[in-house]
Every structure is written in structure tokens, then in C-alpha cells.
Symmetry: C2
Subunit: 225 residues, 2 copies
Amino acid sequence: GKKVLIVYAHQEPKSFNGSLLKIAVEELTKQGCSVTVSDLYAMQFEPRATRNDIVGRLHNSEAFNYGVETWEAYKRGGLSRDVVEEQKKVQEADLLIFQFPLFWFNMPAILKGWMDRVLVQGFAYDLSKAYDGGLLQDKLSLFSFTTGGSKEKYATRGDIRYLLWPMQHGIMHFCGVKVLEPHICYAPENVSEEKRKEMLTAWTQRLKTLWKEEPIDCSPEWYFK
Amino acid sequence: GKKVLIVYAHQEPKSFNGSLLKIAVEELTKQGCSVTVSDLYAMQFEPRATRNDIVGRLHNSEAFNYGVETWEAYKRGGLSRDVVEEQKKVQEADLLIFQFPLFWFNMPAILKGWMDRVLVQGFAYDLSKAYDGGLLQDKLSLFSFTTGGSKEKYATRGDIRYLLWPMQHGIMHFCGVKVLEPHICYAPENVSEEKRKEMLTAWTQRLKTLWKEEPIDCSPEWYFK
């Protein structure tokens, strides 16, 4: 069975994001996948990139450089335990699903902090090992999120794909992770109960054939054509 | 004199970002501006959007909804003290400068958390009060950041402006804040000491005539033309 890591960033299990998470865990488990969830708020996951992420002495204690220090710490096995645990989950996973409500055209800070702290140099990429050479080969990723505004509202100011560029291309593609079509639920708080149920059903249906999907072509054309 | 708020997200005062901050404080003060700095790491600013941001009882304690709860709390003066303090600084400022190292095509999580927690509904925008009707009118903003990669490296995979869309348009423009040209220092860690000095001088020079600058046209064309 495939291994799936769901990185989940919502405070409330009864939320629509909570329902989407529950569906993914149930459906993927039913398929025989082994599913791990990093429930960031429940874990009180630390989003700040600080000196605390390095156990023991610094490479250069005169001037703190987070990128250099975490790279050096990774090489000698000196990253903080919470980061190492997340890296293990990523390493084992065939598929990473990010489930979150869109905050300001972007991930919530707690999830951005997961990216900042977990995907360090040496682990996720290296000098001249980025994009198709990124270190997290043979993995898939999927950004699944809810919005506050309606689809129409987003469409009046350009394409929603514009805001996927930093997340999908700038992070996942950079690390060599392939990207599946995003799964977007528009404004679940402002639609009817019936429409919400339809959205949940659509997610279940998509998951049933997820492993047959082809990754997107993560080039500028996909985002800005 | 004008009022400037600099929201600064770097751990190390001796860093290049630290130098850019120092220059901005000195030059703007010399011009007679009143400058306030929110030094996020030094403040140990909380990036996580949680129930702790609401003082007292929740509007709906059955299912926690961060957007609804902070909106309600804002209206009754019930947001946590650290958020209220930042909102006061924003309210008083004529110009917001965000100074940070680019992490993953984006702001560091600690700065994203500042956006998530400070710019709540009712304070920064409201139903049907967004973009040119956003609540933070008559303010300017400027994203000043350093990159890890060179200008040439960014250019091989599309335009660096692509990644400014969520920050400049999705946040500042949405709140009604006008956006000045970003200030980008490419790869200061990988250039000569002379080149670094040139970059610092260029920032000083730019600040001298900053108040004469026209905001950018924050439309899709500016980003994706």
C-alpha cells in the first residue's frame, strides 16, 4: 500500500477542512494506504525559524544564519526533534496532501512554518539539486484548500492559479516533488448544506482515482497562460 | 513628519537584513519621519492563529471559526493585546515597510503570521470593502527582501514578480494599501563585500526620494505581462 502524509492546518475538527481531512483518511485507508496526519494546531507546531531548531553548538555563533545552521545541523543529525520527526514522515511518504483554509492568498502561517523548518537544505534540495533534481524525488503532492471568497470573486481579479505559483512551483517543484491538480472548495461557509455535501462527495470521488492522475506540468504556462 | 512602521523578520541584527533595517531607520529618521520597528523574532511574535487571540468568551464555542471570532472580537475590543498593539501601529502609519529574507518564494512564517493575525476583518477590510475600498486607505507599503538565489537563477523560471502577487495584491491591495516598487537584494550572501556595500548604498539612495514615488498599478498586468 502507498504511504500518505496529510499536513493539516485547521483549529477545528468540526470545520469543513476537518471534514475534508476525515474523508481523506477514511477513503485512503480503505484503499489500503497507510495514512499519517500532522495536525499542526493540535501539535502546537512551532512555525518560527529560530536557533532552537539546532541542537548543540552553532556552526557560526557570531552571526546566526538559519539556512546555513540548519543545513549543517541536518548533516550532523543535529536538528530539533520535532523537525526530524516531520522529515521522517516526508521521507516515507509517496504522497503529501496539504489541507488548509486559504489565508491571504496563501497558506496559514503555521503551515508556512512547516515548510520553512522541515524542508531544509540537504534534506529537500541542495546546491544545484533543485527542481527536477530536487532531493524529494518520486513523491506526489496535492494542495487541498478552502477559500473565503467565491469562485466568481477570485475570477474578477485574475486567475486563482496565480497564487499557486509560490506554493506548488516555489516549494514542491523546487524540491523535486510532482504536483497534482489542486483541490479547491470555494466558500464552503457561504453555500447551502446541499452544496457542501456535494463538495465533500466530489472529494471522495476524486480520491478514488487519485493514483491514476498525471501530475500537472509545473511550468509558468500552467499558471499564467 | 510621516510615520513609518517597519515590520522586520530576521533573527540576526548583524545580517544583511539587519543592515537594511538600520539604514531605513537612520535615513527615515534623518528625514524627520517617526519610525517604529516591529522586530518579530525579538518580540517572539506568535504566528499561529488560535483561540488565544480572543479575550473572553467566544461568539460560537461549539465550532471555532478564526475569521468569525476575530471579527467579532475586533468589534467588541476583545482581541489579544499583542494583536491590538500591532493594529495601532498600522493605523498610525503612513508607510509600512516589510523587511525580510525570502523563504520559499514567500515571507517567513513569522511575518505571514503577522498578516494573518493583525489584518483581521473589520480592521483591514470588510464585506464588500476590499481592494480600492479596503479599510487601510491612504497608506503605502513596500516589500524589501533578500533572496538566496541570484537574479539570473530566478529569471530562468519565470519572473520574480510572479511571487509578489499573493503578498502585494492578495494582502496589501486587498486592504486598500498602495504598493511601491519592491526592493530586492539578490543573493547578498554570495556576492563580494563591494557589491554588498553597493546594495546598501542603493537602498539609502532610494529612501531619499521614496516619498516622491508613485505606487505601482497593482493589476495582473504588472505581475504577469
